[in-house]
Amino acid sequence: MRRWLALLVLTVLAASATGCASESEPAPIAAPGLAGTDFDGVTRSLEDLRGQVVVVSVWASWCGPCRDEFPVLNEAVADFGEEGFAVFGVNFRDLPETAEAFIEEQRPDFPSLVDSDGSLSVSWGVSALPQSFLIDREGYIVARLPGAVNREWITGVVAEEVRR
């Protein structure tokens, strides 16, 4: 009886160990494709920025916190642009006129793709707005930030990747 019980316990423990091992930290994944047209009708692709550190920022004019991060992103472009850094915006499910008015007001120093049906954002796993992704020079997603980009994230996480 004791031998059977021991065998049963070992079986369960082995399965638990297998399960825990499979939930270790995931490796960085290659950034999904991201291409389309911006508000000036220019075709753009994230692939064109390969070799630079890129922040992909998903925003919408109806998203209040998105207003807070545009000045921070502009500042980042000014500080790190010459070291191979860029910002690539994605405008999620917005009405064109209100999005253009938002751009006119915020004056971003980076382009934004028009994602009118949200399919680009869903392919990136966007769960809330705003949301940003840090892409390394090889095209891998190395960090994700839910919520508005702030200076601490730029001077900490982003700066470290730019200077790697």
Binding site: M1, V12, L95, E97, D117, S121, G125, V126, S127, L129
Partner: protein, 320 residues
């Protein structure tokens, strides 16, 4: 030469036991076959049903406690559109769920696949029950093993059922309590109130939102109607007909500028949407804008037999 003791446990009683077990085994096999036949014989779901089923099996990443099917968040709406695209492309529900799980994590799924530690939680009751069953059978004397096998199989079966029920209960999203505050003074709901209440219960249903909006508009509640229709437009931003209905309600509510914005955006995406051409063209015509003439002429060209076409033609001729 056999001993008297071994003769006491000879074949005839064992053979009799096997014969008595046969009907039980046959009944179980027939029941399983009937269940399988029922599953295979069910008619294939429609595309809309397939989309709904997949959407119901995924959590909204923005609205806690809601499935993608029921959430009105823009993220859920975009995910719903993606599900519809993939269903139309012929992808299987499992492949679609896997696609989303790869982007949002397995926790997005309401019934995650049995892997990792989660698999262990599902399997433990069955493994334990199986071990108990084996012990029960092995420890019995040979003449009583048949009863032990039945007992063991019963224990395993109960464990499987319990695991399955636990998994289903754990996966189900929390229920939405109906809001009864919409009932009128006499406890009777108007059709608009009933449709609004239904839309609150199923906020991801575009049709219900549109129906509620139109019913509210008929009752003169234009502001509330515009809100329902705006929600419908957010859920289905490519649908020109819904946008037109919203523009029409805004116009009736005196919000001409907003109506014009909605119509201009619709015509930017759908330049031949006849209803929008007629309404926007009429607004501009009344404002003395020549662009109105162009839009009305395009409307007449597209819909020459429309009841309004003759009136529009006459107007264009009268005022060259």
């Amino acid at each position: 030469m056999t001993s008297p003791k071994s003769q006491a446990t000879a074949t005839p009683s064992t053979a009799g036991s096997r014969m008595r077990a046969f009907p039980v085994i046959a009944a179980v096999l027939l029941a399983i076959a009937a269940l399988l036949w029922t599953a295979w014989a069910e008619p294939a779901p429609t595309e809309a049903e397939a989309v709904r089923t997949v959407a119901e099996s995924m959590r909204c990443p923005t609205c806690i406690g809601e499935s993608v099917a029921d959430s009105t968040s823009p993220i859920a709406a975009a995910m719903h559109d993606e599900i519809a695209r993939q269903v139309a492309d012929g992808r299987s529900p499992d492949a679609i769920r896997t696609w989303f799980a790869e982007r949002y994590g397995a926790e997005l799924l309401l019934d995650p696949p049995p892997q990792g530690a989660g698999w262990v939680l599902w399997a433990v009751p069955v493994v334990v029950a199986g071990g108990v069953a084996v012990v029960l059978i092995v420890r019995q004397r040979p003449g009583e093993r048949r009863r032990a096998v039945v007992a063991g199989a019963t224990v395993v079966g109960v464990a499987v059922v319990i695991s399955g029920v636990a998994a289903l209960v754990g996966a189900a999203p929390s229920a939405v309590v109906p809001d009864r505050s919409h009932a009128g003074a006499g406890g009777q709901m108007s059709s608009a109130e009933a449709l609004s209440a239904a839309a609150q219960q199923d906020p991801g249903d575009v049709g219900l939102r549109v129906a509620a909006g139109m019913a509210l508009a008929e009752e003169g509640q234009l502001g509330e109607a515009a809100k329902e229709l705006a929600a419908a437009v957010r859920l289905s931003p490519q649908d020109a007909d819904i946008a037109f209905v919203m523009a029409d309600v805004l116009l009736k509510d005196g919000q001409t500028a907003q109506a014009a914005t909605v119509l201009d955006e619709t015509l930017a995406r759908h330049p031949d949407h006849a209803s929008s051409l007629l309404l926007r063209g009429t607004i501009l015509w009344q404002e003395g804008d020549e662009e109105g003439r162009r839009l009305l002429e395009r409307f007449v060209e597209l819909e020459p037999d429309d009841p309004f076409a003759a009136d529009v033609r006459a107007r264009l001729v009268e005022e060259p």
